[in-house]
């Protein structure tokens, strides 16, 4: 039991949380399961086509192309493409991780992949449009333009902070994934 929990601390934490909730008020636990179920369903609805696209991307787009378009020397074009891919996406951020992994595996630059992830998380066009309808164009644009600038700088700085040595290990790990 202790051994299991040391290895799967997260799961044990969740289970203890659920037990505690059941003690306080069992309806909370039911609600939590209900929410979990709805979230899983809504994810299962949107995620399968994303993985189909990831698979096709993997077999059809050659490594050379990715290196040229998003690799070390892709410059501003690489960032632009990363933005485009992130903005024209759908689905939760978690679905972006495997796609980002395939990009890295095929030789995309870390800075670009990180930027792609950041854009996916909050500057996806469908979400931006929804945001505008809810918050008004002024407030929404202010948020999004600021975040865009932050993400560009953040991606550039993160790669610098990461350091050459660590990046090399990182790329190696990405390439080793199947």
């Amino acid at each position: 039991m202790i051994k299991f929990c040391r290895k799967n601390a997260f799961i044990c934490l969740l289970v203890s949380g659920l037990i505690l909730m059941s003690v306080i008020d069992i309806t909370l636990t039911y609600q939590a399961f209900d929410h979990t179920f709805t979230q899983i369903i809504s994810m299962l609805m949107i995620v399968p086509p994303i993985f189909v696209l990831i698979g096709l991307f993997d077999v059809w787009v050659p490594r050379q192309t990715v290196i040229k378009m998003m690799g070390q020397n892709s410059g501003i074009k690489g960032m632009a493409l990363a933005f485009f891919l992130g903005a024209f996406s759908a689905g939760p951020t978690i679905a972006a991780f495997p796609l980002a992994m395939v990009m890295l595996k095929k030789g995309a630059r870390y800075q670009n992949v990180l930027f792609f992830l950041m854009v996916w998380s909050s500057l996806k066009l469908p979400i931006v449009f929804f945001q505008i309808t809810q918050l008004g164009i002024g407030f929404a644009s202010l948020i999004n333009v600021t975040m865009f600038v932050v993400f560009v700088l953040g991606a550039l700085v993160s790669e610098k902070v990461m350091g050459k040595k660590e990046l090399a290990v990182f790329y190696e790990k990405a390439r080793a994934t199947e």
Binding site: T36, M43, I143
Partner: protein, 161 residues
């Protein structure tokens, strides 16, 4: 069915068809690869969704609006940023909530800070993200997003002052 779903299903369908016409074997390989990476995500996903389920139960919109409102001051900011970073909320819940918060008198910068962190800082995803990439990379992405939220708060303060 939302537009984005129709588009993404359509795109996947058309591309699979084109791919199949060009090379059935390669297509099969691709679909298998996609399936594999989906399966790889699953074990991380299930506990994650349980966590999200618990969060959605405990941290409800009512709970948040109780703390973010008129005169909540500095504590309101701290609360907005921490709840936004920790919790998960689908966009179709978080943005209407943001609107509601504004209407009930919460300050614009607070709501902005909450919305930015809820979207981009995903501590919920931390385990999955560090497994896929690296711990450091996950920390960087979340840190950049969090700093972004602080900057957004400052910008909104200046503009909406």
């Amino acid at each position: 069915m939302s537009t984005e779903m129709i588009v993404i299903y359509g795109l996947a369908f058309v591309l699979t068809l084109v791919s199949f016409l060009k090379d059935p074997l390669k297509t099969k390989q691709g679909l298998k690869k996609g399936m594999k990476s989906f399966m790889k995500l699953m074990p991380v996903l299930l506990p994650l969704f349980l966590f999200i389920g618990i969060l959605l139960t405990l941290i409800t919109p009512e709970f948040i609006s109780r703390f973010l409102g008129e005169d909540s001051g500095l504590l309101g900011y701290v609360f907005a940023l921490s709840i936004g970073s920790i919790t998960f909320m689908p966009p179709f819940v978080s943005f209407p909530l943001g609107k509601e918060l504004l209407e009930s008198g919460a300050a614009y910068p607070q709501v902005a800070g909450f919305l930015v962190t809820v979207m981009s800082v995903g501590l919920v995803y931390y385990v999955a993200e560090s497994r896929f990439f690296s711990r450091k990379s996950a920390i960087y992405r979340n840190a950049v997003s969090f700093i972004g939220a602080l900057i957004v708060i400052a910008v909104v303060m200046v503009v909406f002052a």
